[in-house]
């Protein structure tokens, strides 16, 4: 049985040796079985690579969000009761506003370090969601979601969605003009939901928009419900990383059966702990030097005011863009209204995008039929179709994202909003196709370059001129380790179905599903550049013995 999954077994060694321990640890061990539980964790090996630290950025910024968030709750009043402001920010003196907004002003101007903590909280939130996305893309492009990590992929995906939700809830709490506008849009989206939309909106807002109930309700979701879910899922996410051990890049001595790296205690304890403080440091410097969400200039929310350039935080920007570039389709049928102009961009498009992303590991496994465990990461170039689909998805998201800022792009580059919107309407379809094609070509080109390197060696930058004046570059053969690194991946071949009936006229087993799978497999794996041992040996022999 595996040592990591068996905290309660394998205690024979303990009885055999009498190790002196300090009384406190012994006290704890006698009650918790501390040594049994942690002995295999202490020297757990983690592989070294910068891209393995992206998830840590998310984790540590989340810790900072929790800490600064607790600070903010000590003064924030989640109430929509109207009050007249009389605090130290006199440009809002005497202005009628909700208690939520007034208390946010109080935190910003009257509570010492309050502004700092607000800015820490907000910057860390932007970094949190960014880090989740970048981390998730790293997993996607390197195939780290493959068996046995599909569950952890889904947990991570859920965390990303919860992060978006949590971020939007937090953005909405101060009840300033910008966040109120965001909620107004959200209420418009809810209203557009067929059949139940109107009821849903009235239940959510406790009546007409904006009502007096929503901020307190959102507060509970923001500080209790979603954070509790995130903490729980993050814990599960990390336990699984420990249990399943980290993936690693192929390299000399690094195989699918082992994990090579430095021990958790002390190296990763220090590196990860240090990274946590470095991230804290970066966020605190940001909070001290760069202003974020100056709610006092936006003023309190009132439903009849608006500002040019009203945008959500970046992670909701793709929805904003998708709403902006949607044509105005709306149907009226039998006395009912279906607002495709709202439903498609705000619910259907993200629904498809995210569902596709979440289910990708299962789709890929279905196509490859590969049921083995994979612990060696793919270099993105070696999976050209997956990489190209990923880049196409990013392009799609990116165009929506740009669309969300079309007014600012227009003013900064002196373009017309209408022309930009039309450009994005076209690009959102054409862009991903171009991106797919280019990425695939680039990936295959890189594969070809790898092949050149394996067969002919590394370019040295040294130019030789022969006696007849011919220039050539000196190539240096790769080391055995480098050769292994570049060839240590499988080349996935497309699924061959064979003839429809065998020689006895018996039809091939497997129906339409199999044919579909073969088609998908062909699309994904037909293009590849293979370097075989034979090619290498042949070339080696041809080179002679000089």
């Amino acid at each position: 049985m595996s040592a990591t999954t068996a905290p309660l077994t394998g205690d024979k060694d303990n009885e055999a040796t009498e190790t002196k321990t300090d009384p406190v640890s012994r006290w704890a061990d006698e009650r918790l079985g501390l040594y049994k539980g942690t002995k295999s964790l202490i020297r757990k090996v983690f592989p070294d690579h910068w891209s393995f630290l992206l998830g840590e950025i998310a984790l540590f910024s989340f810790i900072l969000i929790l800490l600064s968030g607790v600070f903010l709750t000590l003064w924030f009043k989640p109430s929509m009761t109207e009050v007249e402001y009389h605090g130290s920010y006199y440009p809002l003196n005497g202005v009628s506003m909700s208690e939520a907004f007034a208390s946010t002003l109080n935190i910003s101007f009257d509570v010492r370090a309050g502004l700092l903590m607000r800015q820490v909280h907000h910057w860390a939130a932007l970094i949190f969601i960014m880090a989740i996305m970048v981390h998730s893309l790293r997993i996607f492009f390197t195939g780290a979601f493959r068996k046995p990590r599909e569950i952890n992929w889904l947990i991570g995906f859920t965390l990303m969605i919860l992060g978006l939700l949590e971020g939007f809830a937090g953005y909405s709490l101060p009840d300033d003009l910008l966040s109120g506008t965001g909620l107004r849009i959200a209420s418009g989206v809810v209203l557009a939901i067929p059949i139940v939309g109107t009821y849903l909106s009235y239940f959510l807002f406790g009546g007409d928009f904006p009502g007096h109930d929503f901020i307190p309700r959102l507060f509970t979701i923001h500080v209790l419900l979603v954070p509790a879910l995130i903490v729980g899922l993050v814990t599960a996410h990390l336990i699984l990383v420990f249990v399943q051990k980290h993936t690693q890049w192929a390299g000399p001595g690094k195989t699918n059966e082992n994990v090579v790296g430095l021990p958790f205690m002390p190296v990763y304890m220090a590196k990860a702990g240090g990274f946590m403080f470095v991230i804290f440091g970066v966020v605190f410097l940001l909070a001290g030097l760069v202003q974020i969400n100056p709610i006092w200039v936006y003023g309190p929310y009132t439903p009849d005011q608006i500002s040019a350039g009203s945008q959500p935080d970046w992670y909701i920007g793709f929805l904003e863009g998708s709403l902006r570039m949607m044509p105005n389709w709306e149907w009226n049928l039998w006395g009912h209204t279906i607002s495709f102009n709202v439903l498609i961009p705000s619910l259907v498009v993200p629904g498809i995008l995210f569902t596709g992303y979440a289910l990708w590991p299962f789709f890929e496994q279905w196509v490859t039929g590969d049921k083995r465990e994979h612990h060696i990461l793919d270099r993105p170039r070696n999976r050209p179709t997956r990489t190209a689909i990923g880049v196409a998805g990013i392009t799609f998201y990116g165009v929506l994202w740009l669309g969300g800022g079309n007014d600012l792009i227009a003013t900064h580059f002196h373009l017309s909003v209408e022309a930009l919107t039309w450009t994005f309407r076209v690009l959102v379809f054409v862009g991903p196709v171009i991106a797919f094609w280019c990425t695939k070509r680039i990936a295959l080109g890189l594969q070809r370059r790898d092949k050149d390197k394996i067969l002919h060696g590394r370019e040295t930058g040294i130019i030789k001129v022969s006696l007849d004046g011919e220039f050539s570059e000196v190539h240096e053969p790769l080391s055995a380790g480098e050769r292994y690194r570049l060839t240590a991946h499988e080349v996935q071949k497309p699924l061959e179905l064979g003839p429809a009936t065998d020689e006895n006229g018996v039809p091939r087993p497997g129906g339409r599903g199999l044919r579909l799978r073969a088609k998908a497999s062909k699309a994904m794996f037909s293009d590849h550049v293979e370097t075989t041992v034979e090619e290498y040996k042949e070339l080696e022999a041809g080179h002679g013995h000089h």
């Binding site: 970066v282 909070a287 005011q305 500002s307 040019a308 992670y315 007014d407 040294i462």
Partner: protein
């Protein structure tokens, strides 16, 4: 190392490609210098402010001077009698002196280029010349006069005025000009200009006359005191209020914050991650050899 001096002249010339290469950061340095230069140029040009002066009663000399200037600079678009020319310039009869002072004083007139909207640029005429043209135009038909300094000069020490100005700005102006006057997009390439550099007088005149596509906020809809409050709020946000939290990133809201996070912050964090993730530099072979020679121990023995 020898230099290649010509194809085939020397039997075997070896040259490293890198000898010809520039420092990898050179391109960035050049880019930054260029950007800095452009920025500096813009800053110098942009800071040229129109001098504020109020119009007094017009003298006959002034009217004559104004007419002369009008005919040479404006009549080709607005007609010799300022009656307007279909398709090139509107009639100026009855627009008032304030409109002239704003349009010419902010450099929008004379218009130089065709575009969705006439843009502000360094003014072509001195304030005296502008006053003369304004006097001439207002002599053609009554319209809003250039406001006196005490009408548009806000009292920044009046906190109530600043606060009221904020409320008015948010309900009447920010929809186009953004929340601290950073400007915003309109239809078909038109835009509401930023207000960060505009003088008090020109802001007042703009509200009074509604230049180009800006609506008019006449005195009956928005009293002179209201206008002064708005100016007080804008001036206060420029000077005293500043950006308490630090760098304001252009005051255009979450987009620039997001951009900042995805470029500078992400870049920085990845650099740090590379530092943490990379193996520490190994001792050179020479150093290892020296160690083994002096201590007699095996350096590769890691026990």
């Amino acid at each position: 190392m020898t230099r290649t001096s010509g194809i085939g002249k020397e039997s075997s010339v070896v040259n490293t490609l890198s000898a010809r290469r520039r420092h990898p950061l050179a391109a960035f340095v050049v880019l930054f210098l260029a950007l800095g230069l452009i920025g500096a140029t813009y800053a110098t040009l942009g800071s040229a402010k129109a001098k504020a002066a109020s119009s007094a009663a017009a003298t006959p000399e002034q009217l004559a001077e104004g007419q002369k200037l009008f005919q040479s600079a404006c009549s080709s678009c607005h007609g010799l009698q300022a009656q307007g020319v279909q398709g090139s310039g509107p009639s100026l009869i009855g627009v008032g002196a304030a409109a002239v002072d704003f349009q010419v004083g902010t450099g929008r007139m004379p218009a130089m280029q065709i575009g969705p909207q006439v843009q502000a640029k360094p003014p072509v005429y001195t304030q005296e010349q502008i006053d003369a043209m304004a006097a001439y135009i207002s002599s053609l038909g009554a319209g809003p006069d250039v406001p006196a300094a005490d009408v548009y000069t806000p009292d920044l020490s009046d906190q109530g005025s600043v606060a009221n100005g904020g409320v008015l700005f948010r309900s009447n102006c920010s929809q186009c000009h953004n929340i601290v006057g950073a400007g915003g997009a309109l239809t078909d390439g038109k835009f509401a200009p930023p207000l960060r550099q505009t003088s008090e007088k020109h802001i007042y005149e703009a509200m009074l006359t509604g230049p180009q596509n800006m609506p008019i906020f006449g005195n009956s809809v928005m009293s002179p005191q209201n206008k002064r409050d708005i100016i007080a709020y804008l001036m206060h946000s420029r000077t005293e209020a500043g950006s308490p939290g630090g760098l304001d990133l252009g005051s255009i809201g979450p987009v620039s914050e997001g951009l900042f996070v995805w470029t500078i912050v992400l870049g920085l964090l990845i650099v740090i991650a590379c530092w943490i993730g990379a193996h520490t530099t190994k001792a050179s072979r020479a150093r290892v050899a020296h160690f083994e020679a002096t201590t007699g121990k095996d350096a590769t023995n890691n026990e």
